[in-house]
Symmetry: C2
Subunit: 244 residues, 2 copies
């Protein structure tokens, strides 16, 4: 038996998300199908987590267990031959038998991309959230610092989130300017459902002057005391890396 770790990138635009869903095609389904076509046998892949419909990844990680003695290269190049253009295995590695994509993960890095442009821009529409109003980056940066550390993120999850505890640790939340693009880079030990998108939505509300920067500290300490978080649209979000 061998355990294989796969690092997977995808353009999430045309998928219902990572996980199998009754209403459409998921990334996991396409990946398991490609593996079945390559190997002739069924392998379940276990991921570090899910991504929602429309969310992208450059470094989603999953693992599988196999009795096949394929060269490790086949798990990348062979699988890629059967994947649609929108998905690619970026890396395949043989790992220890006790490696688990989800339980071994130490943290994740998400990047949210905002396009700051006053006129609609077709070439960035699939990978960014376009904001036409000016943004107060100084206020957003100040507010972003409030996320760092251990906090109760109960105000930053959707009602469908099944997590038992809502305390999470954020290592850093930083804003990076790149021309018209603004990246909000979020690194942390773990995330609740829709958490990054709700963090970004709240930061954007602050940038637009609709909320004071102090709202984030209030939402972390007393969630009901201020208006709920806005959820930023899916297409701006990308899972960049899972840290082990």
């Amino acid at each position: 038996m061998m355990r294989i770790k796969l690092t997977v990138a995808y353009d999430g635009t045309d998928f219902v998300g990572w996980q199998y869903q009754p209403n459409g095609v998921s990334v996991q389904q396409r990946l398991e199908e490609a593996i079945a076509q390559l190997t002739g046998s069924v392998h379940a892949v276990h991921s570090s987590g899910r991504t929602d419909a429309g969310v992208h990844a450059r470094g989603m990680v999953c693992h599988l267990t196999t009795e096949l003695m394929l060269p490790v290269k086949a798990w990348r190049e062979g699988v890629n031959r059967f994947l649609p253009e929108a998905i690619a295995v970026r890396r395949a590695e043989v790992v220890e038998d006790d490696f688990h994509a989800r339980f071994s993960a130490q943290g994740k890095f998400y990047r949210y991309t905002i396009l700051r442009d006053s006129v609609r821009s077709p070439l960035e529409r699939r990978i960014s959230w376009q904001i036409k109003q000016p943004l107060d980056l100084a206020a957003m940066r100040k507010a972003a610092e409030s996320f760092v550390g251990d906090h109760d993120f109960a105000a930053f999850r959707t009602s469908g989130c099944a997590a038992e505890t809502t305390v999470r640790n954020m290592t850093s939340v930083s804003l990076v300017e790149d021309g018209d693009l603004l990246y909000i880079d979020v690194r942390g030990g773990g995330f609740l459902r829709n958490m990054v998108r709700m963090m970004v939505g709240t930061l954007v509300d602050i940038g637009r002057g609709k909320r004071p920067p102090e709202d984030i500290a209030r939402m972390l300490s007393a969630p009901g005391s201020v208006p709920p978080a806005l959820t930023a649209p899916a297409q701006g979000l990308c899972l960049m890396d899972v840290v082990y």
Copy 2:
């Protein structure tokens, strides 16, 4: 009568090109349809040139003549309401009656995007040509200089090109590195059909060591003396700007 200059951006992936074609939907068709929906009357738009199927634009320019007394803003924001997400009017201006998108143009700026990555990368696939082998950028830069100035570009056009003369002036051809991305920025007074893509294809052959850098000078002076140019794929090309 008023003459309106429109600057248009589009994601060319799902169009048959700028110009009307019997085999699918063109950008020009969608733009003229949107104008008809907004104004209730037919306006023909005249462009600075064509782009092929799959080629993108950030700054395609076209003009139209109208008897309608709409505020100029309507030609941008109003038209955008009826355009698909993949097309947007970025700018609308009232211009002199003798302005002509094609005949008044002094030059154009095209950017060709190459992704240098040894593994397939889904998120750049619509806007770049991925090259998996290493590229010798020094050889490419040296070769690119040979394009600058007045030259006969007969070796850099497709057989379907109807231009009467093949001498064109290139102002600059420069390579710009941006992480894994490599831009080949081409500025010139005028272009033949597929010219930029054939210039890029030849530069990439040089970068891969399949041709010497001197081949470009030979192709400009004695086209038949060396193998013909490779045509780079459409999705890497973007019309950035038309200069008036």
